[in-house]
Amino acid sequence: MRVMVLIKATEQSEAGEMPSQELLEQMTAFNEELVRAGVMLAGEGLHPSSEGVRVEFSGSERKLIDGPFAETKELLAGYWVWQVRSMEEAVEWVRRIPNPTGEHGMVEIRPVFEADDFGEEFTPELREREERLRAQTEAGA
């Protein structure tokens, strides 16, 4: 299965503080370990939300909101995309993320949708309907 691992922002990341040399080194080593285990598919760090823009949808209106955004804990500082065999494996890898300063942080793991997730209950008829819906959505997008 494929998971997206979402690293939540902290006050430091939102303030644009660069991580310490120690953390950088440990994170590089951890990323290398993920690559060498064949788990890492992609991953990037994000600039603080002060560099970001939001587009709010309401009816036909599109409103632009410039960062920074208030709710730090809900913001993202980075992400990985991993190929793992189970949610438990993803948890095991997340537990190994280095945290040399002992700082409070939050990492969220979300499985990426795959048609196979539906298993046998996803009958050919349902699958076809979903495909048609998808085709319509894509045509409409």
Binding site: R36, E92, P124
Partner: protein, 423 residues
Amino acid sequence: MSVAGRDVTRTIEAVWRIESARLIAGIARLVRDVPLAEDLAQEALVAALEQWPESGVPDNPGAWLMATAKHRAIDRLRRAEVHQRKTEELGRDAELRSREDDDLAAAADDPFDDDLLRLIFTACHPVLSPEARVALTLRLLCGLTTREIARAYLTSESTVAQRIVRAKRTLSAAHVPFAIPGRDELRERLASVLEVVYLIFNEGYSATAGDRLIRPELMQEALRLGRILAELLPRETEVHGIVALMELQAARTRARTGPTGEPVLLLDQDRSRWDWLLVGRGLRALQRAYATRGPIGPYTLQASIAACHARARRPQDTDWERIVALYDGLAQLMPSPVVELNRAVAVWMACGPRAALEIVDRLREEPALDGYHLLPSVRGELLENLGRGDEARAEFERAALLTANSRQRAALLERAAACVSLR
């Protein structure tokens, strides 16, 4: 799915899948015996299953498993040594002996990359049959249980168990050393490893039996193995080549089957449904392959062909002339009727059906393709394209009789029924 209130057994399974290959490899270096190393690693797993539900999962579960397996290894070595001492040399210094034990203990703490490579080359040793190599690789390097392997290959657990037992016996009987092959035989031995990886991938990508066309779990295991190998042997062109090939092929998985599970051919696939993350990874792996400046082998060439398709946003943008040239190269490097058949399809696209039919007709005499469903299937398409509907129908029907996959059979019979003769 509740992982937070989780079952410790599932956590142990996950830890095992992460750690087992390095664990077995590290212990094998200590005891110089892969089958024994696997037994010791399994003993450590049993100990974890007994203790962790009570004690909780340790902070560094990999180190815990390694320490446990190592202790058991040292116990065994000591017992064997005591036995030996009784029979032959009684006078050796006890202090020296305990220092040796410390050395042994320290040996398994070193970086494991070389050990992992040794384990890969042992599991894929050419003294073993390809089936034995596949089973042993899934077991020792992917950490799959006998039951999981049996399920993936739609065979019985006892068949797989027997295959593994026999493979281990063969390794012991042949005194296969726990070693990385030397420069002179590296390429040959690597070919044996890559063959195993690709066999596993292909069984997942184009299931030869059963009613599902694709078994993603096997594809994923092969991809993972390939990605690991690419980091262990970064200078080997073909390692990056096989990774590129697998990434690019896996990228098409979603588009390869239609709404009712029937196969969708490459040129009919909805390319927006390809996995573009994997396409990007495949193209980068191919760049790495060429950047090694080593000799280009069959996997790199096949990946280059797959890359031609991946780079074409629409089927009509495909660079068929380049694909024909790449197939020409592949046919020289690896002359095979299957490659020739694929070359025929490329020639059809680049130069039209008549030239392609000539190649295909030559292949009908080929005994190796006797019973291969793709030959009549391609010939049927060419004949249909040339307006020879009656002959095309007969070919599609023949192809339907030859395939073991029920989805493919249904699709071929549908093609046959739709054939109209224009002459």
